[in-house]
Amino acid sequence: MALAIRRSTSEVFGAAKWFIRRDCRALSTLPEKAVEVPVEKKRDRPVVSRIRANARNPNLALRHVYPEFLPDPNPKWRNSLREKLERTDMLNRRKQIDIPEFYVGSILAVTVADPHAQGKTNRFVGICIERKGAGLRAEFTLRNVVDHQGVEVRYDLYDPTVHSIQVLRLEKRLDDKLLYLRDALPEYSTFPFDMDPEILPDGTPVPVNPVQVKLKPRPWLERWERQELQGVSNIEEHLKEKDRVRRELRKEPWEKYDLMKQYRKTIPIEDQNDIWAEVNHQLKQLQLTRKKVSRKRTFGVPKTQLG
């Protein structure tokens, strides 16, 4: 009997831990990882909880598509009026140009007005290696290799000099940031400027590209071995025994149980509901107009592109 009780309590604990982890992941603004934790199927009774309700909340899905609408969680910088004004400004800008859904790992083409360029506009194609910032400060970085030279350009998402942002290939990668492409072989970040956009059929989930890149030998820009990267295949080749030992010493496996840390990094669900309720309608409208425009474009006469 005693054994049974102990067993059941441990199970309850395990379930609780699993739920807590799920909850945090549901709140985080980081894109979801491709590798899912295997779901425990054995459960005595279905538990209807807040987490389940959150999973059904359609607003919460928006935080991956429009992460910049959530403010910086640092309480020292928060002010409801400022955030509201910022959101209206962002929506006003979105009415002017179409800012599409994209993720780290997607391939984008960005056209900006440039007073020094020929024709006064500049088009750059590259893979998005980083996306950060909240509100009007939102920014992303594109990387490409042009004439054997790595080039990275940082763009502000709401910069009025940006004329168009086009997604050439919509996909995710295994990591939140692809900064390791700087130390990878150049073919992993080389993309032709005349790439055709790949159109996904409506309603398909965003595909995850499971490619694992090969790093060049050291020296590296960062200690990639300590960052638990999924998208690098040959990291062990370049390590010495010393690095492995230090990696073990530097590991912080308890971090994922630090609920307070997770909480401080995220916007509470109540705040998120308010924010999405405010902007959801207008975002939907924008999406509809975008769809109409794209439908028109597909049925139109294709333009011949000259070299």
Partner: protein, 356 residues
């Protein structure tokens, strides 16, 4: 003979009493709050308040709030033809604002500029003290001759529950027919820019493109060392340096000057001081929420701190044309946003550069 006169002396001094002792010594004047101020803090005592009492207080508070909301701006009754004209020497009233954060705007030539947002919270003129009656505390530091010619205008911001402050503090606002305000500040104004008490002040008191001075308290950083407080370089981390990485080093020379000179930069308390940032440009004004966007991020204080805005006194950035004088009266159909001509509004199309 001698004893007789001594006795006389003793008898005459017998009635002598010492009541006051005057001593003359140098003392800097102690800071006293201005004479128009009343202590605000109150020790709350809940003992004798019943539920009905509380409800009654709440009702009275609601009534007063409604009264205050229904008050018309006294500016409407004043003849604009009789009012004085603005000239470059006049001093207008300022505003009390709250710093609510920073975010970027873009200029017409595509440059990104960071701005600070200041929200003008519920500002009302509370009292005017003409220059004859105004007698500020005498200080040793400087004699401000202009003070004799300037009147004093009290401005309050942010209405609070009257039961949280003292009766005397509430009394300051009775003349204007207002509920007490959380922040009270005096602005020195020239007599012709008098505004009747009870007038609301809006963000449109300033125009887009104007330059303002901002007075606020800097962030409190506590006791800081010499590197953070004065920007000293410190000493190397290695090469045989021991125990002196962030220390100030030498603080004086020898000989005649064998002492620490006054004003030597040393560790100490940093921040939480009143500072004025002069010549801040206004880029954008929202009339609905009374928010002012100012250029730059150097306005002292953290997000949520209060600051005081004046017309700038910098000679090259002063007003050249007449601003709203004495202040902008409340008008219903103002445009929602005013933009400086250098700023690119987000509602407009993307920036393109012309080929020339």
């Amino acid at each position: 003979m001698v004893t007789g006169s001594l006795n006389l002396l003793r008898n005459s001094f017998n009635k002598l009493r010492i009541d006051h002792i005057f001593s003359r010594s140098f003392q800097t004047p102690r800071y006293r709050p201005p004479y128009w101020y009343e202590p605000k803090e109150r020790v709350p005592s809940e003992e004798f308040i019943t539920q009905e009492n509380k409800q009654f207080i709440e009702e009275v508070m609601q009534d007063k709030l409604q009264q205050q909301a229904s008050l018309h701006s006294p500016l409407v009754n004043i003849d604009s033809s009789k009012a004085a004209e603005w000239n470059p020497q006049t001093r207008r009233v300022g505003l009390i604002a709250r710093k609510i954060g920073n975010y970027p705007l873009w200029t017409k030539d595509g440059k990104k500029v960071l701005t600070t947002l200041l929200q003008v919270v519920d500002n009302h003129v509370i009292r005017y003290i003409p220059p004859e009656e105004f007698s500020p505390m005498v200080t040793k530091k400087y004699v401000w001759k202009e003070k004799n010619k300037l009147g004093c205008l009290l401005v309050g911001s942010e209405t609070i529950d009257p039961s949280t402050v003292t009766k005397e503090y509430c009394g300051l606002f009775n003349n204007a027919g207002m509920l007490p305000k959380r922040h009270l500040f005096r602005f020195m104004v020239s007599p012709e820019s008098y505004i009747p008490p009870g007038t609301p002040l809006q963000a449109t008191h300033f125009r887009v493109g104007d330059y303002i001075d901002v007075r606020a308290k800097t962030m409190d950083r506590g006791f800081q060392g010499v590197i953070k407080r004065w920007g000293f370089k410190g000493m190397p981390a290695s090469h045989g340096v021991t125990k002196t990485h962030r220390r100030p080093g030498n603080i004086g020379s020898g000989g005649e000057k064998a002492r620490v000179w006054p004003g030597t930069k040393m560790p100490g308390h940093m921040g939480n001081r009143w500072r004025i940032l002069r010549g801040v440009k206004i880029l954008r004004i929202n009339t609905k929420h009374n928010v002012i966007w100012t250029l730059g991020v150097a306005i002292p204080g953290e997000t949520g701190a209060m600051c005081y805005l004046f017309d700038t006194i910098l000679p090259l950035k002063k007003h050249t044309t007449s601003p709203a004088f004495p202040t902008q009266p409340f008008v219903e159909d103002l445009p929602l946003e005013y933009y400086d001509e250098s700023v690119q509004p987000f509602e407009e199309q993307s920036i393109t550069f012309e080929e020339n």
